[in-house]
């Protein structure tokens, strides 16, 4: 049983998979076969598993860019596979913030514009910010330790990897999406930067009331999470192989 999350949203379920199966090709082997996986709203879940265990595939399913072969998948009480591809894209824009391993930023946008990119495809998120979008983006960046004007105006490619990841985190959090999915966001960071980044991420998710699904192959990061889920333990496809 999942531990209860914190705060007022504890009753809601952020992610709920039942009998979820996925394969890349109709004739291919199953990559995922997850009888049950739930994340309660507000929870900080560490999803752990070696490379190739299907972590990124699961994120693709939750994000709505992949379609399951079978099973149910509810994200924020929404039946994702039932949505049209366009509605899934809209849902992702409105409700989920993503942070990837590295190269999270568009090299041709400035720092603030990269953060605002999180709202560009989501009328809902930009509506939530109203006319204060730029101010809110700067507040987010400042909270993540990027307040220096020279940092904000320099090209994103000139930032350190750690700074880039913090910009990516600001983008994922801008407009308060209910769910933040981080896919190995710290693997390109040094150990000390890594811990600081994690703490910032925790703080900001708590501040935004966002559920955090953090994916990594590195079990040493699991301190501070509400719950650790080993993907091979919930994925029967992984156990068979």
């Amino acid at each position: 049983m999942p531990q209860p999350g914190r705060g007022a949203q504890a009753a809601r379920v952020a992610i709920d998979c039942t009998g979820l199966r996925f394969r890349w090709h109709a004739a291919g082997a199953e990559v995922l076969d997850i009888p049950s996986f739930r994340v309660v709203a507000g929870e900080r879940v560490f999803l752990c598993g070696p490379s190739g265990s299907g972590k990124s595939t699961l994120l693709g399913l939750i994000g709505g860019v992949l379609e399951p072969a079978a099973g149910e998948l509810q994200v924020l009480d929404t039946d994702i596979p039932a949505l049209s591809p366009a509605a899934r894209d809209r849902f992702r824009a409105d409700h989920i913030g993503f942070i990837f391993q590295q190269f999270n930023l568009l090299p041709y946008l400035g720092v603030v514009d990269n953060v605002l990119l999180g709202t560009r495809f989501s009328p809902r998120r930009s509506e939530r910010l109203g006319r204060n979008a730029v101010a809110e983006a700067r507040r987010c960046l400042a909270a993540l330790g990027l307040a220096d004007e020279s940092q904000l105006t320099s090209p994103v490619t000139s930032l350190s990897v750690g700074q880039q990841q913090r910009v990516a985190a600001a983008r994922a959090l801008l407009g308060r999406p209910e769910l933040v999915i981080a896919d190995e966001p710290t693997s390109s960071l040094d150990a000390d930067v890594r811990a600081a980044f994690l703490q910032l991420l925790f703080d900001e998710c708590a501040e935004a009331g966002a559920t955090l699904l953090f994916v990594s192959h590195d079990p040493s990061l699991q301190a501070g999470f509400d719950r650790v889920v080993e993907l091979p333990n919930i994925n029967r496809a992984g156990q068979r192989s």
Binding site: S56, G60, G63, F100, Y108, L117, F121
Partner: protein, 421 residues
């Protein structure tokens, strides 16, 4: 609120060197195409207005194009002459305002000599309304005076006061020279871009004077010779001329007089409308301009293919960008639109830049082109054809952009949030 145009513009700006070169290639091709179009329009206008303000050209019975070729362009030979009596009969008609007789057949160092009257300087018009103007000197007055076309003066280094000797016939063999009756240059014309630039103009009486002692096309024997000043005492009215230009009091009478001349009972004559004959001749030469236009069109196609290649090449290095856009909620259709817009923007920038470049070149270079090539860019203002070319290039860029856009669409659909490399 779609962020795509801004993203497309900034993405292109980020890759401005490679994109700039691509757009430059497109711009050059567009400039070439519009340039060819502008120049051919101007060349056509310039050519068909080699002679303007003249209502009829009259010569011995021949085809209109041939009459035009030898009387105006000084190409080929007149098979027959027009008798002075016929000329006077037409010139005396009540419909005729002025005439300019033309006598050809001699040359000076490869340039044709044209016997005419001072009326030429008054009535000859080219490029619609331009008059002949003198770069130096004045029209000829005396029998042994000559006016040179600009190219003759430039090529042979003559100026007013130079003495020239006319050769008999059109071959520059130097065997049969009218060395006993030299001509003095009294005027040099400004460049016109017409065959007059390559002509030596002398009075009709001068043509008559240098042949006064010749016997049926044979040079005089020493005993038969008539000295230059003696010749002046003779009647120097020619028996015949090669052709003549006619200006009418009223243009409405053009066809009536043309018919009358063509049906002239005493001599087989042909009267042509220069504009009509010039247009007819141009349709023959026009094939060349069509070929040029097609070649320029292919250069544009090459430019657009270059752009497609650039966009396709960038696809791989931009997979991460696609994934980021997808993660923040962009649909594959957005990615498609982004690439299509980039192609369209390159097309717009290329077409606009090419347009500006060629207009600037034509505008700045119009004078020089007029002076050196004889093509007067009468209509350098771009017309709907140029606008259509620009629109077509942008349209073709968009069409060609469908390929990289489709590729990007498929990849972003397959890659989703991951970049599997």
């Amino acid at each position: 609120m779609t962020p795509l145009p801004g993203l497309a513009a900034r993405s292109l700006w980020n890759r401005r060197v490679s994109v700039g070169l691509t757009a430059l290639a497109l711009a050059i091709s567009v400039a070439l195409l519009i340039g060819v179009e502008q120049v051919r329009k101007a060349a056509r206008a310039s050519f068909t207005q080699t002679i303007s303000g003249t209502d009829l050209i009259v010569g011995a019975r021949t085809s209109p194009v041939q009459l035009l070729l030898y009387s105006v362009f000084h190409i080929g030979y007149a098979s027959n002459a027009v008798s002075w009596d016929s000329y006077e009969a037409v010139a005396g008609s009540g419909l005729v305002a002025w005439t300019v007789p033309i006598a050809l057949g001699d040359s000076h160092r490869g340039f044709r000599v044209m016997g005419t009257t001072r009326d030429l300087f008054e009535h000859y018009r080219y490029a619609r309304t331009r008059e002949l103007r003198f770069a130096a000197g004045v029209p000829f007055d005396g029998v042994y005076e000559a006016v040179l076309g600009a190219e003759v003066a430039a090529a042979l280094g003559y100026r007013t006061g130079s003495e020239i000797v006319i050769s008999h016939g059109l071959d520059d063999t130097g065997f049969l020279e009218h060395g006993d009756k030299p001509f003095r240059v009294v005027g040099v014309l400004e460049r016109t871009g017409t065959p007059l630039d390559r002509s030596v103009l002398i009075p009709l009486q001068g043509i008559e004077a240098i042949h006064v002692d010749w016997q049926q096309g044979r040079p005089p024997t020493p005993g038969e010779r008539v000295a230059a000043d003696e010749a002046l005492a003779r009647d120097l009215t020619p028996d015949s001329i090669t052709a003549f230009l006619v200006g009418l009091k009223s243009r409405a009478a053009t066809f009536r007089l043309q018919r009358a001349i063509n049906d002239y009972p005493d001599e087989a004559l042909t009267a042509i409308l220069p504009g009509v004959a010039l247009a007819e001749l141009w349709t023959v030469l026009g094939v060349v301009e069509d070929v040029l236009f097609v070649v320029a069109g292919f250069v544009v196609v090459a430019g657009i293919l270059g752009m497609v290649a650039t966009l396709l090449t960038s696809l791989n290095e931009r997979r991460r960008e696609m994934a980021i856009l997808r993660a923040v909620g962009a649909r594959p259709a957005h990615v498609f639109g982004l690439f299509l817009m980039e192609a369209g923007l390159i097309g717009i920038v290329g077409a606009a830049a090419g347009f500006v470049v060629i207009e600037a070149v034509l505008w700045l270079g119009a004078d020089a082109i007029g002076r050196h090539a004889g093509i007067h860019l009468l209509a350098p203002a771009p017309g709907w054809r140029e606008a259509a070319i620009a629109a077509l290039v942008v349209g073709a860029s968009l069409l060609a952009g469908l390929l990289p856009a489709w590729q990007a669409y498929r990849r972003s659909l397959a890659d989703g949030l991951l970049v599997r490399t």
